[in-house]
Symmetry: C2
Subunit: 442 residues, 2 copies
């Protein structure tokens, strides 16, 4: 602490890539991470992909003296993989599971089984209430043909909603994690613009780390550089974001990342680079207030207009996803009907020799049973798929409804501003069905 | 409005029992509900079990002039069934899906497919921000042997968490819906004590409705009185709850319920009775504040101590659920292994005649294929069940962790009070594993 009004807060974030028996050098890397954390004594540690609770408990034991408070977020089949360690007492924890998170049959991608979510812990830093969030969004496996894009956009939408609605009582807000979003990706813009969270990389006074702040670097020995193509050096998808409030102003004094290797160790901590941010909290003795100047109003109106554009873009993306999900559901239903028809046909074939041909010629039992099994397999699979796609459709429709509501509300607020420029650009229809987004139906 | 500081707010809640083609007189009842709502012009209407979006859209058209703002919450396979209509503009909507909601194979109960959740809409009433919640918890099918109790307790836990964390910026909070909880049930006590929400039935100045405020009455023609046994007259499971803030005080002027029949109609609106509350909002010109008196401190400490007891009780219930879920998961795994063993045995039997007996005796093809199908069915079913129970275990463990954290935090706050009575009663261990709940690990 520099003076009584200034508090220094060190935040650490790392995607640990901790899949037991599958991730390379998993145990050794956890030992290294434990060493680093107990040496560095960050105030708040936010980890992702700690898939095994045993590994969490192991870290917890190791950090019991430096970080006496911790929470492990559980969800999905395997878990959410998210853990937090803190030097400050954790008073409350809450988890929001994203409504969409990939497909269960894409088992090799595995995201669905992970139960992706955003976890929140509330802790008191001095007399300040800090709401600290950790999350891990669905991975991007192919940037050119990203079938998970609508899911990630919906996750970013729900993430910003969760943060906005649960942080009104907070003095400071911190979000860290592997967003699987590039800095200018739609989901990232949506999150930052709606919540007002600031990116520690762009805001920091001092930076020490990889070029452009990248956190998934081609030099990392656990990474296949081909997978990063066309980004030769790497990409920035891990973040520490923050914002203050009327009671606290926050500055990022410095941000550092690991650089793909660890001194005295043969391999790095993970396939992602770790982030470490030094935040300076300044408690404000008097609340900022008073009448807004015209310039401030214009700036706020500009922000609102930008937000309307971003939410509209997100809504379009969700609509594309909805179209695909509805088509997939239709395909599942049609295949199911075909399976049923095949089964009926088979039963008819079975009935015919019994009625007419009797012992005339041998009944092809093997083919009959095999075909029967095939029909049943088709029926069960398509039934499960139909249920799954119905849930996807509902979730996408729900997100789209909320987005429409939000756009309407934002435009309503915009109308309250004495704008210098006309708002014609906001009046373009979102699609053929919406006569005018300025009059949303809710 | 009585004077400039007083606002009258009328809230309506009804479980519509709107299962198309299955619920009796569904269409006629919706027409009756639409009539009632457009005649009564409540400020906020919160409906549950509006399972079909078509019915929602139909109501929306009907109420377009009286209730121009509305939102339909979508989740799960069928939907959440929750809808809200409002005379005041809805600015934002957010949905939280409960992590547990029955079992998909209990299709005749159907709760799992409904995607139970709590929906929130934010609306401005005058200059006040109202956070309005609607929910529908898992039904209780058998009170004596209620296998869904842990699920309902977790839902109540998540409901109170969601309301607490998303309402800090609210001037007033309203929750209505079919809680499927009796007034003194654990989930109900947990919800009311933790959030501070007040029950309009116990708080109202004037009540007009069924005896004891019951909302599921034996006189209702859609109800089989046997199902209500041992509660001959009926049960109270639908609620309108509310609370104010430092800026607004709320009084319930009157509460009324329907009484199982509708004048001039052959049947009632639903199998549940409708609730209608008249709330009086008084905006406070100056915030209540200043030092707490000793009596107030004792009262707050008493509340905290009560809360510790309730959360501990909930935690016990969740642990019972966890034990059952783990046992079910184990059974699924064991059955799966047996299915696999049977399959291997069958393959061995098939291999033996091919190796040794050849054309010696006819191979029992029919039995062979049937048994094969059975093995595969067992394997697939147990695999799906194992995944499902793993998710249930994770969700229950997550809720239990959060409860442990909450108890620790509450006890910490309790220690801050200069208590007249010793807190020994709070020091009893929660179970054998916890050495002392006063020193929770997080």
């Amino acid at each position: 602490m520099a003076d009584s009004n200034t508090i220094r807060l060190r935040v650490f974030s790392l995607n640990c890539w901790g899949i037991r028996y599958l991730s390379k050098h998993c145990r050794e890397r956890y030992a290294m991470i434990g060493e680093l954390l107990s040496r560095e004594e960050h105030d708040i540690v936010l980890l992702q992909e700690v898939w095994s609770e045993k590994d969490f408990l192991c870290l917890k034991r190791k950090l019991s003296s430096t970080h006496p408070h911790s929470h492990y977020f559980k969800s999905g089949v395997i878990g959410s993989g998210m853990a937090t360690f803190s030097r400050h007492r954790i008073h409350d924890a809450f988890l929001y599971r994203y409504s969409l998170n990939g497909y269960p049959y894409m088992a090799h991608h595995g995201d669905w089984f992970g139960g992706k979510a955003v976890g929140m812990v509330i802790l008191n830093i001095g007399r300040l209430a800090a709401h600290v969030y950790v999350t891990h969004l669905h991975a991007e496996y192919c940037r050119e043909k990203d079938s998970y894009l609508p899911h990630r956009v919906v996750q970013a939408w729900e993430l910003q909603q969760f943060i906005r609605h649960t942080s009104s009582g907070a003095d400071l807000v911190i979000l860290a994690g592997d967003l699987n979003l590039h800095p200018q990706d739609l989901g990232n813009r949506l999150l930052r613009t709606y919540t007002g969270l600031r990116d520690s990389y762009t805001e920091t006074a001092k930076f020490d780390g990889c070029e452009d702040g990248i956190t998934l670097i081609s030099d990392n020995p656990f990474i296949n550089p081909k997978e990063l193509c066309p980004f030769e050096k790497g990409i920035r998808i891990d973040y520490i974001l923050y914002k203050g409030s009327g009671r606290v102003s926050i500055q990022c004094e410095s941000l550092s990342t690991t650089k793909g290797s660890v001194p005295d160790h043969p391999f790095p901590y993970s396939d992602h680079e770790a982030l470490s941010a030094d935040l300076q909290l300044q408690t404000l003795t008097q609340q900022a207030g008073g009448d807004e100047t015209r310039a401030e109003q214009d700036c706020a109106a500009g922000k609102l207009a930008e937000l309307v554009d971003i939410v509209t873009e997100a809504r379009t993306e969700v609509k594309v996803g909805l179209y695909c999900a509805e088509r997939m559901r239709y395909t599942a239903a049609r295949t199911g009907v075909m399976g049923m028809a095949l089964l009926l046909l088979e039963l008819a074939i079975a009935a015919v020799p019994w009625l007419a041909l009797r012992a005339d010629q041998p009944f092809p039992r093997a083919s009959f049973y095999l075909l029967g099994v095939l029909c049943f397999a088709i029926l069960i699979t398509t039934f499960l798929l139909y249920i799954f796609y119905s849930m996807e459709v509902k979730a996408l429709q729900g997100a789209e409804d909320q987005m429409r509501l939000a756009v309407g509300s934002l435009q309503e607020r915009l109308r309250g501003f004495p704008l210098a420029q006309p708002l014609n650009r906001l009046c373009r229809p979102l699609d053929g069905q919406d006569p005018c987004p300025l009059e949303p139906e809710e």
